[in-house]
Symmetry: C2
Amino acid sequence: MTKIGILGYGNLGRGVECAIKQNDDMELVCVFTRRDPAGVKILTDGAKVVSVNDIQNYRDAIDVLIICGGSATDLPKQTPEYAKYFNVIDSFDTHAKIPEHFANVDRSAKEGGNIALISVGWDPGMFSLNRVYANAILSDGADYTFWGRGVSQGHSDAIRRIEGVVDARQYTCPVESAVESVRRGEQPELSTRQKHTRECYVVAAEGADKAKIEKEIKEMPNYFADYDTTVNFISKEELERDHKGIPHGGMVIRSGRTGWNLENRHVIEYSLKLDSNPEFTSSVLIAYARAAMRMHAEGQRGCRTVLDVPPAYLSPMSDEELRAHML
Amino acid sequence: MTKIGILGYGNLGRGVECAIKQNDDMELVCVFTRRDPAGVKILTDGAKVVSVNDIQNYRDAIDVLIICGGSATDLPKQTPEYAKYFNVIDSFDTHAKIPEHFANVDRSAKEGGNIALISVGWDPGMFSLNRVYANAILSDGADYTFWGRGVSQGHSDAIRRIEGVVDARQYTCPVESAVESVRRGEQPELSTRQKHTRECYVVAAEGADKAKIEKEIKEMPNYFADYDTTVNFISKEELERDHKGIPHGGMVIRSGRTGWNLENRHVIEYSLKLDSNPEFTSSVLIAYARAAMRMHAEGQRGCRTVLDVPPAYLSPMSDEELRAHML
């Protein structure tokens, strides 16, 4: 039984709680929160809600701490801090800052004699794995990653900050013709605009200037200006009814050539269609919690990523069972 | 530079030779053959062709021996034998006999102080990996593997053994409607017939009874009787022109549910579209040769499978480069 602590109880923390319920070898011991614990209601009978200020008292009660904070400001502080006291896992997803985060976490985890797995999820995470596998196999080729159709929290937030906007939901969508070309192994050169479109559903305040809102969205640098963006104004009720979920997904495709004269073409594709982005990410986190336990038991210390973990370590099956049934 | 020996120079051996050419850190030292070496012409300048009887003289010249024999009779003998003297890799694909093969190879490899990787390729191999990853992530779900559209050598051979057949090519094809249902996450129960069809292209001898040949194919137990099979009679020229390649592929799909009440659905799919089955398998073998070197250098001894190998070990990039660019 692997005893799990969850730090932070937002969408991701709740997802981890659900994933623990689905795995018989996992047990939720407690949820740590920065809020008043009395105000945080969780779903699991027998698990506690504890102030993060008391987390040190749980060093012996927890095998792996899953840190469910945000990548912008929470994780760069939390993961190095708690890797001193616990085996930890996070889903740090600021790609450009992974080397720096890795170095900080590695130092702490070694100091504490713990194992830390960072950037666990689907991108970074399962998509990264698939990029590495496909590149190692097809050394002559081209990589493509498409995201969506799915909700981008960052882009939805950016729309909400516009004057006159009450609420908003933004979907990132892959351009189907681009995906088809890549799947045929044509190795097209694709601009940002040719890969994804952005679909916005916006609830405007009464009397707000909708034309102005639409223009502001479409011209927003970095977020929307480089994309074909559509803006749909809907009611608050419609947003609640039709856009409540947090679906996402995407695909990693590599096409490449083999043969003495590169005469043969191959396409490798990994794709995800997810009803709930945070719950899927949580399910990945829990599988890697199992791996973290095994790596720690072997004497491994310090920071690792999904690229360092043998696939067998994620499974509750023994190596013998895996060879007999899954290979 | 990893020095490679190839044992057996059929389609797979030639594929490995091509894959070595594509990887700057790999070098083909020699091809070992059971035939008269004088009669075997290879493509690589500077590499030798040597009788398998002299293989012992090359123990110091080779880092990894890639054994390119067949799974039915060659590999069960060859891999345990040569694992005593070399780090070895094979693509043993008789799923039911993997545990027995593993035990035999493990014993020899430990005795010789070598590392052995068995059942490397795409199924078993990349498909196995993806089954394990997807099962570890979505613990509540269903697995589906579809093969094709691709040439089945075994089924083509079975047709060729029928009286009056000069030559034949058999394609295994996934049933598109079944694939679509699985992709929608419907978790259908599918019979053998509902998953794949079999498409046969047959060159009949002059004056042969085509109706009888077609009946014999369609009623052949195990091979065709459980499938919807179509038989097309074509000329020898058409077979040469349109069916010379060895394409294959397929997909591993797992759909599953998450959430406190399993209210959210997810679909994970890994798919391959391959112009040349043996060349793709060879490319996987060469990536794992790199991993075998690293595992041996770490002091690992004995038999392993793809499930035991961290993804990073397949890549020519350093761990730092992988974290910076691929994660």
